[in-house]
Symmetry: C2
Subunit: 533 residues, 2 copies
Amino acid sequence: MTLTGHSLIAGQHVAGKGTTAFGYNPATNAQLEPAYSLLTEEQLKAATNAAAEAYPSFSILEPETHAGFLESIADNIEAIGDELIIRASQETGLPEARLQGERSRTIGQLRLFAGVVRQGDFRGVRIDPAVPDRSPLPRADIRQRQIPLGPVAVFGASNFPLAFSTAGGDTASALAAGCPVVFKAHNAHPGTSEFVGQAIAKAVRDHGLHPGVFSLIYGPGSSIGQALVADPAVKAVGFTGSQRAGIALMQTAAARPEPIPVYAEMSSLNPVFVFPGALSGSAEKIDALAQQYVTAVTGSSGQLCTSPGLLFAPAGEAGDKLVAAVGRAVSAQAGQTMLTEGIAASWNSGAVALGSSDHVAVVGHGTEGGTKNAPAPAIFGTDIRSFVSNPVLHAEIFGAASLMIRYKTAQELIEATNRMEGQLTASLQLTEEDYPAASRLLPALEQKVGRIIVNGWPTGVEVGHAMVHGGPFPATSDPRTTSVGTLAINRFLRPVAYQNLPQELLPTPLQDANPWQLNRRIDGRVESGKVFA
Amino acid sequence: MTLTGHSLIAGQHVAGKGTTAFGYNPATNAQLEPAYSLLTEEQLKAATNAAAEAYPSFSILEPETHAGFLESIADNIEAIGDELIIRASQETGLPEARLQGERSRTIGQLRLFAGVVRQGDFRGVRIDPAVPDRSPLPRADIRQRQIPLGPVAVFGASNFPLAFSTAGGDTASALAAGCPVVFKAHNAHPGTSEFVGQAIAKAVRDHGLHPGVFSLIYGPGSSIGQALVADPAVKAVGFTGSQRAGIALMQTAAARPEPIPVYAEMSSLNPVFVFPGALSGSAEKIDALAQQYVTAVTGSSGQLCTSPGLLFAPAGEAGDKLVAAVGRAVSAQAGQTMLTEGIAASWNSGAVALGSSDHVAVVGHGTEGGTKNAPAPAIFGTDIRSFVSNPVLHAEIFGAASLMIRYKTAQELIEATNRMEGQLTASLQLTEEDYPAASRLLPALEQKVGRIIVNGWPTGVEVGHAMVHGGPFPATSDPRTTSVGTLAINRFLRPVAYQNLPQELLPTPLQDANPWQLNRRIDGRVESGKVFA
């Protein structure tokens, strides 16, 4: 595959009339070819207009074609082969093994959504049959289904060049819902984005879909993003990135003549609560826990949305041992290349701010890596009073840093939780003796997070039907949903009711004959795939 | 039952420290006793704090108690008897028969939601069981459920003193979700609100619930409403009213440190499309259609969210006959008392603005009613070019007024639809010969409305499982939902995932033993009420 350096609008390579930008290898700071020409706001209209034109046919696609389209995207990404992994590694500094795993996840979630499209429950069919002889008034026949919202703007994330970018979770769930996608590439991995964009465009062509179903655009940082969200053709937004950028998009979306939903996944500290039972027993157990923690903090150079930024450890001897073991474990870690020079600089100022805060000490740090932008991982320590009272200690540091907080009583954990902002996850390390204390903490955690993990670590987000990758603001812009897993499709749907429509005018999913064999809620009870007569 | 003139905060009658307000009988403009003392913003905190305190126990209520609570509210409202209907009629000018119907609906929807609570699908249980031997990595056990968002602020609507007020659809669906409610009474029917508030407070007491589950507050117009929406304890808002007020609440909610969802149902023109087939045949058919239209426009003095404000009629002889028949039918109508003096004045200025617009003629008008605030119903006419080009003709006139628009081709209907803002409903009058034209119009309508009706009128919103009372902005603030029908419960829920929790720590709905016998989505497929082992 050849990289053109151009946007891909409704199947056409389009040279941007703005400035140009390059990818960079963060391990060397070397510039990567080709140059990417950036679109002007004017040029953007071609993509959003094409998406609006594609909506009528794409939104009513018959399930088998629709699912096959998603599967073809997966196949086409697979077919790119090593070239994709090599380019992604060059552009992001992420190791090839990690990117291979990420590719599997990307492909896997496209195939999972193909299954969702075939299965069809997301269409939300409800039928309340007519009751002509009801008194005092007859009941009309009323049927409901979910329809796709319209064109969706998706923003690529820096930290997942595949699974949260061009054909990532937001794109996959929007396309599965029947929404055309205008995808804004993250400028840190333009080549990776183009490879995948071409794979999607080929699938659009091969299935004979309207070319406006997908466009990939390159543009200058936030300005084109704001223009995209403000575009009247766009009906929803998927975003993963910083709190600052996410809130700016939320404000733009709310200020439109027609406000639209923004699904922004923004920041999270992912607290880990270590209960006393988890530290009782052998020294090996404590060492293993310390090692797992350090691995979770430093993996992918700490650049995961669910990387644990806080760990609450009990005061006392066992907790002291854990702190010491963490110090040893982190000192053995070399820094790994971060995604960009800018991200490495931000990590550094965040770590300095944390390390120089009152009552914060260094638990341990590793060594700098052998490349550019590979700072030494660092773990800090403080006490729970300082944590509760100092907002600086609640700021996310994107990268391999974490803060250990010593606590005395289980009640202090509840109080600290109540003072925290919304998070994606919370994790509990415990044994049976800790169940009473943990069950008192759980209701407080449910108010603050989207996922609760026991005796595991928050990194490694399973893509399934039950996953929630979401949580209260500011972890996300909208806690009523998830950006990972099949429930994510609901973000891009809305209900429409049809009253007394003759069979000839009813949409296919609502017809008596049930040609798509959908499960349907009849008078409030789900009936599986039956003809309704 | 005695009216105290006080707010009812967590089961206690509380005298407001602000000014006082009275209900008025709009038929006479006479003041109604007692005086209602208005709360200050400071006093409001008692209600929102109590709601936050009630959340932990109310949100996990066992289904049978929860459903019984909703049924008790219905029973208690029924037990008030005629006193409620008489007071509501005095405060609103609405006829007693209409209010009896509205009471049935209010009670019916509480009982319907009791059924939803017992049935339990709204808990959204999903289980992806562990796959310990999966390669390359084992899969954890992940379970998901929906939890209630937290305390909900509900605003009473002027036009439905029962079904969209104290124990109306928003309150019923929020309580069914497990959210405590702080209800802001509409100042136009304070006594009706207090009767129903007492009925709810009694149900809270009788079931031994935390008294903060429900509070009824009286306050000065918009200021206390804004304070309520800005209160950090409040996690979602239900509102039915004007566009201006709804948008103000949306802005307040978006500007909070933690933004929250606002479900505002604001305005709608509810266009009716009369196709040529509907007018072919006998003159009686045309007369009947005209009569139905006038009934829909003038019922409840036109003060229904779904009252048809626009009717598209074909050009030519049959359409001329329809216009003439409508003129005759409306001239036989006497004005009915409107809800308040202010609403009647607004109706009047809206009707004057419409009637004096270019290319707008009077089709017909009725006579003034025998009471105060009972203006003569009026139906106006224009051509489709004027409608498309003049925004004044797209403004909602709340009350008994409507605009007939003459069109020549079915294509013009699509163009007019594309130019319209979001609406709650669209209705089609047609026969089989019109199916081809109607099926071309339907996709455009789906983009603009929440409910499509064939050969019926939009008024009379059935409360069931399939109903959608919603639609794109500015009909509502959020098209992804409905404010009528059982789907409304979803507005007040959010998903939480639980990874590898031991049975002892799992919330009841997610336990293997399935004590509540819920339907659960296991690995993506719904299985009914089974034990999971």
